[in-house]
């Protein structure tokens, strides 16, 4: 192998030149950052329609997993990096960042957008002091999925508004580990948006909350003790192995392959469980409200993915045009036409819930009712905004650390009570460092 140095030099030079070259630009290029959920991937696919309607706007997509995306976006927006024009964020970020002035307020939306069509609770979750900072793409609450065939075979009936105690009872009767059949599938993967979303709603139903009015963590309360022990005991008894690494995806896969009798999780799973291409049990899925216990306040969560525009973006107008398009009635109609009405982004607009939709999506009316009553606002007893999360900047880290402690209880590494102590200490420490209660 003789080395032709001249050729090598030329090649390197070319490489260098190419490395420096950039894109050829259309008039405006929008960089859109989004999560890799099915609905967003669909949006990416259908956005070609937007591009053909607006030939002077080119779209670049950055698609990442939720946690990576969140970290990436926060780094960029806090340093005014200017990398993105449209962000896909949740209610959590929208309120925090809107308050800091990092997002452009959504103003001057055309009348045809019909902002009043969007559910008030969703709008409130994305606003700061009445000003909207993000346009909701889809919203979700939580609900109970169950196997109608297994229930029928066991002679059981699922009430419309079950309690957690009832669910535990059913799960116990429907578990047969030798047949790979598990009565209860719940999130166990550690994360503030993973297992903590679910466990917090359990705790809420038992009457608990994260903090009291003085911002003191409440993991030493009776309600949390009952809730966590209930969760750990029943998951051990009727849950699948490896539950502590199961998040939404894993549980969806388990349910769809027929291994779960009851599953409590996000309402967006509805269309996935009924999709014959990915679900073996598409014909025997039943839906009902998320379980409550002593109270039903906060027993179902509220979350929304929304499109927002950083204040540092140089393409404000085009960005707003795209955001409005992707969250409009027209987009919903487009999805209905190309992918079927059951796949329309759920939970944001009243106009989505037509009779046709309600018929095609039997889970829709439960989502609708849950979204109507979900109320994240703070009260005298609860100093924070949020149902399954606490809208303070420190929550991501605190939530994840508590989530890990609870996951350790699920694997049997610690007991539930020990996990609560860990959670209490960790949260107290973090709150102290952050300076709560703030004057």
């Amino acid at each position: 192998m003789t080395i032709d140095y001249k050729r090598l030099l030329v090649a390197s030079g070319l490489c260098g030149a190419l490395a420096v070259s950039g894109y050829s630009h259309a008039d405006t290029t929008l960089t859109i950052a989004t999560v890799n959920n099915s609905d967003m991937i669909r949006m990416q696919r259908l956005a070609k329609t937007f591009e053909s309607e607006h030939p002077d706007i080119k779209l670049n997509w950055v698609v990442l997993e939720e946690n990576v995306l969140r970290q990436r976006l926060t780094t960029d927006i806090a340093t005014q990096g200017g990398q993105f024009d449209v962000l896909t964020i949740g209610m959590y970020e929208a309120s925090l960042w809107g308050a800091k002035g990092w997002l452009s307020p959504m103003k001057d939306l055309p009348a045809s957008y019909d902002i009043d069509d969007v559910f008030p609770s969703v709008r409130d979750g994305l606003s700061v002091k009445g000003q909207l900072y993000a346009l909701p793409f889809y919203a979700e609450s939580s609900m109970t999925y169950y196997r109608t065939d297994l229930f029928k075979a066991a002679g059981l009936e699922m009430p419309e508004k079950p309690t957690w105690t009832q669910i535990a009872e059913f799960a116990g009767k429907l578990t047969d580990k030798s047949k790979d059949q598990y009565g209860l599938c719940l999130r166990g993967k550690a994360g503030w948006g993973e297992n903590m979303a679910l466990i917090t709603t359990v705790a809420n139903s038992f009457g608990g909350s994260w903090f009291d009015s003085q911002w003191k963590p409440q993991f030493d309360s009776e309600a949390w003790k009952k809730a966590l022990n209930f969760y750990v005991d029943n998951m051990k008894k009727s849950g699948p192995p490896g539950a502590s690494s199961n998040g939404f995806n894993e549980n969806l896969a388990l349910f769809n392959s027929g291994k779960c009798a009851i599953w409590v999780d996000a309402s967006v799973a509805g269309s996935f469980t009924m999709d014959k291409t990915q679900s073996k049990v598409a014909d025997s899925v039943g839906f009902t409200f998320a379980p409550h216990e002593t109270t039903d306040k906060g027993s179902a969560w509220l979350y929304s993915w929304a499109l927002a525009i950083p204040a540092s973006s140089k393409n404000q107008q085009a960005a707003q045009q795209f955001s409005a398009w992707a969250t409009s009635k027209e987009y919903a109609a487009l999805v209905a036409k190309t992918d079927g009405v059951a796949n329309v982004p759920p939970g944001t607009r009243k106009s989505t819930y037509t009779d046709e939709y309600l018929k095609a999506a039997p889970f829709a009316h439960i989502t609708l009712e849950s979204l109507k009553v979900a109320d994240p606002k703070q009260t005298d007893a609860k100093p924070y905004v949020g149902i399954q999360l606490v809208t303070i900047p420190e929550f991501q880290a605190i939530g994840t650390e508590v989530g890990k402690a609870f996951a350790a209880a699920l694997t049997g590494q610690t007991t539930a009570d020990q996990a609560l102590v860990v959670a209490q200490t960790a949260t107290e420490r973090a709150m102290k460092r952050a300076g709560y209660p703030k004057q």
Binding site: C15, N60, V68, G82, N249, F272, T277
Partner: protein, 276 residues
């Protein structure tokens, strides 16, 4: 049993053992490629299926959803440019260190390695701010520069090790014949050490190709390499194992094939103590 027979038996047994180990080590990769041709339901089925109806739907989906070639091109460009730049800077340095060793050489080498001690996670913000200040966010240049710098210590060090194996007399003989420094290096040194250099180049390419921290944090869409493509397929809401296997196969295939082809060079170049 004769000596020859026992030797043959020994060979057979060792051969079987070696094959068993190789299959065990290679199995995850084989399974990944296999899964990329299954449907999602098959991918998750219990018991795991070795026999199934293959499908190309995952690859088609990827082609439809993401611009694979764009990401691949970025990976190729960044990896090769960074490696070239790195070699350009490292080879002269290694030359000097190997043939004109001073008291400080060892310490310089160790100091170079110590620059890799700071975990990238801890230094993310400073680098991000620097890149932003230089207007180099989401640019291939930024990644090329960073990769050159983080691989420089390893490359210098490996080239130094190969150069040390070369007897000085050969270079001195060339010098006696009237060669200049440049000629000495190009005409004499490089051909002798090309095996070692080739393996260093390959190592550098692999390190650049697989680097997943800076490539995710400093790029968005324009300069995003294959590692970003992988990141966009992990853990979505919904079943994804088959698609993930497909995109992983696509992302690792180029460098894997490149490595397989050049592994002979690699093997030849990594001999310690045997020159030519």
């Amino acid at each position: 049993m004769t000596l020859q027979q026992s030797r043959r038996l020994q060979s057979l047994v060792l051969g079987c053992l070696a094959w068993a180990v190789a299959i065990l080590v290679f199995f995850p990769i084989f399974w990944m490629v296999l899964t990329s041709f299954k449907t999602e339901i098959d991918a998750f089925a219990t018991p795991p299926q070795f026999i199934f109806t293959p499908t190309l739907e995952n690859y088609l989906h990827i082609q439809e959803r993401s611009d694979y070639l764009h990401f691949a091109w970025n990976s190729v460009l960044i990896s090769f440019s960074a490696t070239a730049l790195c070699m350009l800077i490292a080879v002269p340095a290694a030359y000097s260190m190997a043939f004109y060793e001073t008291k400080r050489t060892k310490q310089t080498l160790l100091w170079m390695l110590s620059t890799k001690m700071l975990p990238p996670v801890g230094v993310l913000m400073p680098i991000y701010l620097l890149a932003k200040g230089a207007g180099l966010l989401d640019s291939r240049i930024a990644l090329i520069v960073i990769y050159t710098l983080i691989n420089l210590p390893i490359v210098v060090w490996m080239v130094y090790t190969y150069f040390k194996d070369i007897p000085r007399e050969i270079l001195e003989a060339a010098r006696l014949d009237g060669a200049t420094l440049g000629q000495e290096m190009l005409r004499v040194l490089l051909p002798i050490s090309k095996g070692g250099l080739a393996s260093t180049v390959l190592l550098s390419l692999i390190l650049c190709w697989n680097e997943a921290f800076w490539s995710l944090n400093l790029t968005s869409s324009g300069a995003a390499p294959l590692t970003a493509l992988i990141a966009s397929y992990s853990s979505p809401e919904g079943l994804f194992w088959a698609k993930l296997s497909a995109v992983s196969t696509l992302a690792c295939a180029p460098i894997l094939i490149f490595g397989w082809i050049s592994q002979k060079q690699l093997v030849r170049g990594l001999s310690f103590g045997a020159v030519k």
